[in-house]
């Protein structure tokens, strides 16, 4: 089971993830390990968020094509409709060869096979809001010593 890890700041967990356009597919996508080099974006891991979202800046940078709109509810009762995209999320797991220390080698991209149907948010210090549709595929561990790990 691939595992990645890092440090949290006692209030937020940030993680670099790759994003790959999936909206132009006409045949089933074949994601897996090491398929291409996804563009990396800073993501905020948010277990209170039901659906992974992507910033307008990241969508533009990737040339993502909106496929519709998604209803989003904020603090109040109002619902707003945000452009929706279909994309794959990829995690980069440090490759640990025999006798190597973690972090000393290259990273292997693990592209999640299930496409994400996520909406657009405005940019605010990160480009991907990583929601429970992605987090729930694995195990997220937040530790008191300032570390976190995510295995999937």
């Amino acid at each position: 089971m691939p595992c990645l890890w890092g440090l949290h700041n006692n209030s937020q967990v940030f993680l670099d993830v790759g994003v790959i356009d999936a909206a132009s597919l006409t045949t089933p996508a074949m994601p897996g390990v090491g398929t291409g080099a996804p563009t990396l974006f800073k993501s905020l891991v948010d277990t209170g968020c039901q659906r992974t979202m992507i910033s307008a800046n990241a969508a533009a940078r990737l040339g993502l094509t909106a496929v519709g709109k998604i209803p989003i509810q904020g603090v109040g009762p109002n619902i707003t409709y945000h452009n929706a995209y279909v994309f794959h999320v990829a995690f980069f797991v440090p490759a640990v060869a025999g006798g190597q220390m973690p972090g000393s080698g290259a990273a292997v991209a693990h592209v999640l096979p299930a496409p994400i149907h996520g909406g657009e948010i405005s940019s605010s210090g990160f480009d991907v809001l990583l929601g429970m549709d992605v987090i729930s595929i694995g195990s997220l561990k937040i530790e008191g010593n300032g570390a976190f790990s995510f295995s999937f």
């Binding site: 999936a22 909206a23 132009s24 597919l25 006409t26 045949t27 089933p28 905020l44 948010d46 277990t47 209170g48 968020c49 039901q50 659906r51 979202m53 307008a56 094509t65 909106a66 496929v67 519709g68 709109k69 998604i70 209803p71 989003i72 509810q73 904020g74 603090v75 109002n78 619902i79 707003t80 409709y81 945000h82 452009n83 929706a84 279909v86 496409p115 149907h117 909406g119 657009e120 948010i121 405005s122 605010s124 809001l129 929601g131």
Partner: protein, 92 residues
């Protein structure tokens, strides 16, 4: 998609107009469509699909001008948790 010029403005107009149509139709859509993904083109629901990927594959193969949109048949909105409490949500 040789020979097909796609305008982002036209595509966004199609998405916006389809959404307005879809929301007007939503209360009267068949219960069997609940949770499915509606493929829309020119303010008409073409078909329902079980997954967004199924709808997208058919749409991409059928409409090379990319003038379509896909809406999930649901009245439930997505909660963004932390983000929605920290950042005012306007339509993005």
């Amino acid at each position: 998609m040789r020979g097909v010029k796609i305008s982002n403005a036209n595509r966004q107009d199609e998405i916006d107009q389809n959404l307005a149509f879809f929301l007007a139709q939503l209360p009267g859509l068949p219960a069997a469509a609940n949770g499915k993904f509606a493929l829309l083109r020119h303010q008409t629901i073409v078909e329902y699909y079980d997954t967004i990927v199924d709808a997208l594959k058919v749409a991409n193969a059928t409409y090379p001008d990319r003038l379509f949109s896909i809406q999930q048949v649901t009245e439930a909105a997505t909660d963004l948790g932390y983000y929605s409490h920290a950042v005012p949500l306007g339509a993005a």
